[in-house]
């Protein structure tokens, strides 16, 4: 039996691990919202595609590296499809119109997977199953730790791209003011797909990590995670990459601690209550100051 | 001329970021007159309008309309003090018809819950709609009443914008470049129309680039540069003012650079 502080520490670790999944999804959301002011509801679908295809390719006996690569490619392609047929078509129309067709993509992706692979929860034959280490009495899952590290690394790479390349400068110019970005000669139609590409990659990666960690996938796996990811993004401050990471970890810890102390009845009230309070009291989020681009709405 | 000016601007200032857009500006608009506000691009003319109509809060100073201090009155309340304005980039509601856009101008008079819930478009006769249609007729636009404004030509939109502001029955009307983009015939019609407004007791403040237009229309001119007043007087006086000549002629090439900041 562990002492109370040890249990708390263990729960904190558990929360960070769970939060790393939320963090990746939150980064995906924050990219399209921060740069394009577009709440991309197809993200849960892309997350699911990442997870489902990890299962499908692993089942067919491909090596893990190839599986991950293929799942990421599919996720990115699915995201670019959304850009092509929803966002691009509707630039300049009512700001919540693209949301409709991105939602259409969520329904489409989920139902296509349902038709071909059914609704059962599938068990992923993950090579990382049950790999854990015990450090100072704390049980830490290796793949989850790797997922956390990967999330932070990806966020670092992303910020380097944003602040170190011409594409990044273009992105930030669009985020600041799309009209003047166009006047300044930023190729919006070349840059916008990049946003979707990154957002798709992050989401699919989260799906892959999810599949390998939790060793289970199903067609609706994206919804719950995405809702938490949105909350994480808001708490961190929309448009802020590091805010999304911290927000994701925060939501993970908050969720685990409230389950552990109050039971699962209280989780949603706690998480969404926190979201609501932050939106009303401090809509720019906890890290709004370092935002990628100013919120234009 | 009455002792109480229609608009009294007393030592106001406004900055955006580090840029002082309006700096220690004071001037008055006499009641019943047609005043022009001129200056090079970026001089802060539209900002003055935005400050007067309450779109931006002041950094310091005060603004009075017909003797009433409105410095701390919110933008939505200032129309009650008899203030209406038009916009440099026409702001019509594209998803409404011309007639409905004009109905919006009556909002301040229709007032109250009863006014809100009184049907505009159910009974064949309706005083608000009749009034709006009559106002459209006056400017020769009766044919466009039921068209969506988004599809209408620029000159027509310009007139609708003006009629809408008039229907608020303001005492003071701020017009931001009313003649921009109009052909000579339309400009002449506009001049006649504006003179008619003064006869109905409306005080006008006009931001305009067309000096010809101002010379004919206005009796009082205020010249701004870099957010401060550099001259004031009749068109004749202002035209011969040294600072004004320098501001206009000496800085020709800078105009482009300022055009986005205005």
């Amino acid at each position: 039996m562990k002492s109370e502080p040890m249990l708390l520490a263990q729960q904190f670790v558990n929360g960070l691990m769970l939060g790393s999944i939320y963090a990746l999804v939150a980064v995906a959301f924050t990219l399209t919202i921060g740069v394009l002011n577009f709440l991309n509801f197809s993200i849960p679908g892309i997350f699911m595609l990442g997870g489902m295809f990890t299962w499908i390719f692993l089942k067919s006996g491909l090596p893990l590296g190839l599986v991950v690569l293929l799942a990421l490619v599919i996720g990115a392609a699915a995201s670019l499809l959304v850009e092509r047929s929803s966002y691009r078509q509707m630039m300049g129309s009512d700001h919540f119109i693209p949301l409709v067709s991105s939602m259409g993509f969520l329904i489409l992706y989920e139902n296509l997977v349902l038709i071909f692979w059914g609704s059962d929860i599938q068990v992923v034959n993950s090579p990382f199953r049950d790999v854990s280490v015990t450090v100072f009495g704390l049980i830490i899952s290796i793949p989850q730790l790797a997922g956390l590290a990967l999330a932070v690394t990806m966020a670092y790479v992303l910020t380097r791209i944003l602040y170190g390349t011409s594409t990044g400068r273009g992105l930030r110019a669009i985020a600041e003011n799309p009209d003047s970005a166009i006047m300044l000669g930023v190729h919006v139609f070349r840059i916008v797909p990049v946003v979707f590409l990154f957002s798709g990659l992050f989401t699919a990666l989260a799906g892959v990590i999810f599949a390998l960690n939790y060793t289970q996938v199903h067609p609706f796996m994206g919804e719950e995670v995405a809702l938490k990811g949105i909350s994480a993004m808001v708490i961190g401050g929309m448009g802020s990459v590091w805010g999304a990471i911290v927000g994701g970890l925060l939501i993970g810890v908050a969720e685990i601690l409230s389950i552990s102390s109050f039971g699962s009845d209280f989780v949603d009230i706690a998480v969404y209550g926190l979201l609501l309070v932050i939106l009303v009291i401090r809509p720019e989020g906890l890290f709004g100051g370092s935002a990628l681009g100013r919120e234009r709405l | 001329m009455s002792a109480v000016p229609a608009l009294k601007i007393d030592n106001i200032g406004k900055h955006f970021g580090g840029v002082k857009v309006i700096d220690q500006l004071s001037f008055s608009v006499p009641l019943g007159a047609r005043t022009a506000l001129i200056g090079p691009n970026g001089a802060g003319k539209t900002t003055v309008f935005n400050l007067v109509s309450g779109v931006y809060p002041l950094d310091y100073g005060s603004i009075a309309l017909n003797g009433a201090d409105v410095t701390h009155v919110s933008q939505g309340e200032r129309i009650k003090f008899g203030l209406a304005r038009s916009f440099q980039n026409i702001r019509l509601i594209a998803h409404l018809t011309a007639l409905e856009n004009i109905l919006l101008g009556q909002q301040i008079r229709a007032g109250g819950l009863r006014g809100l819930l009184y049907p505009l478009n159910v009974f064949r006769r309706n005083k608000w709609r009749d009034e709006a249609r009559a106002a459209l007729c006056d400017v020769g636009l009766e044919a466009y009443g039921d068209d969506m404004v988004g599809d209408l030509p620029y000159g027509v939109q310009k007139r609708i914008d003006l009629v809408r502001a008039e229907l608020a029955r303001p005492k003071l009307l701020l017009l931001d470049e009313p003649a921009a983009g109009l052909n000579p015939t339309e400009t002449e019609e506009l001049q006649a129309h504006l003179e008619g407004l003064t006869e109905r007791g409306i005080t006008l403040v006009v931001v305009e680039h067309d000096m010809q237009f101002i010379n004919v229309l206005c009796e009082h001119v205020v010249v701004l540069n870099f957010g401060s007043k550099i001259a004031e007087g009749t068109p004749e006086e202002v035209r011969n003012h040294g600072a004004v000549r320098e501001a206009y002629l000496g800085r020709e090439e800078d105009e482009e650079a300022f055009s986005h900041a205005s």
Binding site: N14, W117, G118, V123, Y214, S260, S264, D268 | -
Partner: protein
């Protein structure tokens, strides 16, 4: 723009006409047929479970018709897809009962659908019989509602009886359940803790989670504070899989027990070695006797042909199969003619025949309906061993 609108309006009109035309098509009601309705969930979240039920229903109908049908008439099933949505299930019920004039209805699938279908079916006076709804007392207030599922209380106490008789380690127990699901919550708050106490098992802890939860680290860390011999799970199979894997990862050695909610023929495969020792009560065991083995063989062949991911027959498949047999039996004993003019009275006769049915020899064993409309049948206690379920004990139903 105008042209587009006109085209659009035209196609809307055509589409509407298509819906209405199909809706008003007179059912092909041949005098030589007896009609049953079937509310299946062949799209939506239950598609995998429901698709295999459909195979079992077809098997039953074909077998009956191959033997010459009932009362000299062929049996025919009319399907309606509910997508697992309660609103669609009610729509389907109304269509099947009023438009197609079926005699009785197989399904709907889930408790969520059944909750809305039962009151509507009661008003229409038609028997409905879900194959998977096991939320306690759901059918009790309704005279026309039957369920071919057993009370979870009976199931779970049979399991505990076996555990005690075999002398397995059972001093302490923890309850783990989902709070946002009807059946899970009832299991977790009433059935599981109540019966464990009754059997002298010390309930030392309780953890809760959400139905769709995938991360159980918090719950297991808490459970590890005070590890117990038994972990009683009130949740669907998915949650149990996740829970057991997380338990093993964090080094919890307890045995999983549950009601029939986690019953799934593929569960041993999905839990892997982590699940060894898991015990459940089941209403159906495919390896029971020649008849169930033959059913399972036949079922697997058809499932494979239909391209399903899951090919082993589950308790829901067996229960769907039996529902058709119950209806066939009731049609025969009540001497139902299928005459549309006598529809209401014949539907009531079917209800009464089902109520009167005693120890019907079904695939699952001898079946009788109790006063609440739920089936009483034998309970098979299954233990998970090396990737499969093994039968370790059988309890006959209490004589009513």
């Amino acid at each position: 723009m105008k042209k587009f609108t006109r085209k659009l309006a035209g196609s809307c009109l055509f589409a509407g006409a298509l819906v209405l035309a199909a809706g008003s098509m007179a059912p092909a009601h041949a005098a030589s047929e007896l009609l049953l309705g079937y509310l299946s969930a062949s799209t939506g979240p239950f598609v995998s479970l429901s698709r295999s039920n459909s195979i079992a229903v077809d098997m039953a109908v074909e077998e009956i018709n191959a033997k010459g049908g009932i009362n000299g008439k062929k049996l025919r099933v009319i399907r309606f897809d509910t997508s697992g949505k309660p609103a669609q299930a009610v729509l389907g019920l109304r269509k099947l009962a009023n438009d197609d004039k079926v005699l009785a209805i197989i399904g709907p699938f889930s408790s969520g659908e059944a909750g809305q279908v039962f009151p509507a079916a009661e008003r229409l006076g038609v028997v409905t019989m879900p194959m998977a709804s096991s939320a306690p007392k759901l059918a009790a207030p309704f005279a026309y509602a039957f369920r071919n599922t057993m009370n979870e209380g009976i199931l779970f106490s049979s399991l505990l009886k076996t555990i005690k008789q075999k002398g397995l380690a059972a001093k302490t127990g923890t309850v783990a359940y989902a709070t946002d699901d009807r059946i899970s919550k009832i299991m977790g708050t009433r059935v599981l803790p109540g019966l464990m106490k009754k059997f002298g098992i010390d309930v030392t802890g309780e953890v809760t989670f959400k139905l769709r939860a995938f991360d159980f680290s918090a719950q297991v860390s808490k459970m590890n504070q005070n590890p117990s011999d038994l972990v009683a799970v009130g949740a669907p199979p998915e949650a149990a899989i996740n829970l057991v894997k997380e338990m093993r990862r964090q080094g919890h050695k307890g045995r999983i027990i549950a009601g029939s909610t986690i019953n799934d023929p593929d569960l041993p495969e999905k839990m892997g070695a982590a699940g060894n020792g898991t015990m459940i009560p089941s209403a159906y065991y495919a390896g029971l006797d020649e008849r169930t083995k033959a059913f399972d063989r036949n079922f697997r062949a058809r499932a494979k042909k239909a391209g399903l991911e899951r090919i082993r027959s589950s308790q829901f498949d067996a229960q769907s199969y039996s529902i058709v047999l119950f209806f066939a039996n009731a049609l025969k004993t009540a001497n139902i003619s299928g005459d549309p003019a006598r529809l209401a009275e014949e539907r009531t006769a079917i209800r009464d025949a089902l109520k009167a049915m005693k120890d019907y020899p079904a695939l699952e064993g001898a079946i009788t309906f109790n006063a609440e409309g739920d089936a009483l049948k034998p309970v098979y206690i299954l233990e998970m061993k090396d990737g499969g379920w093994t039968l370790i004990d059988t309890h006959q139903p209490p004589k009513s």
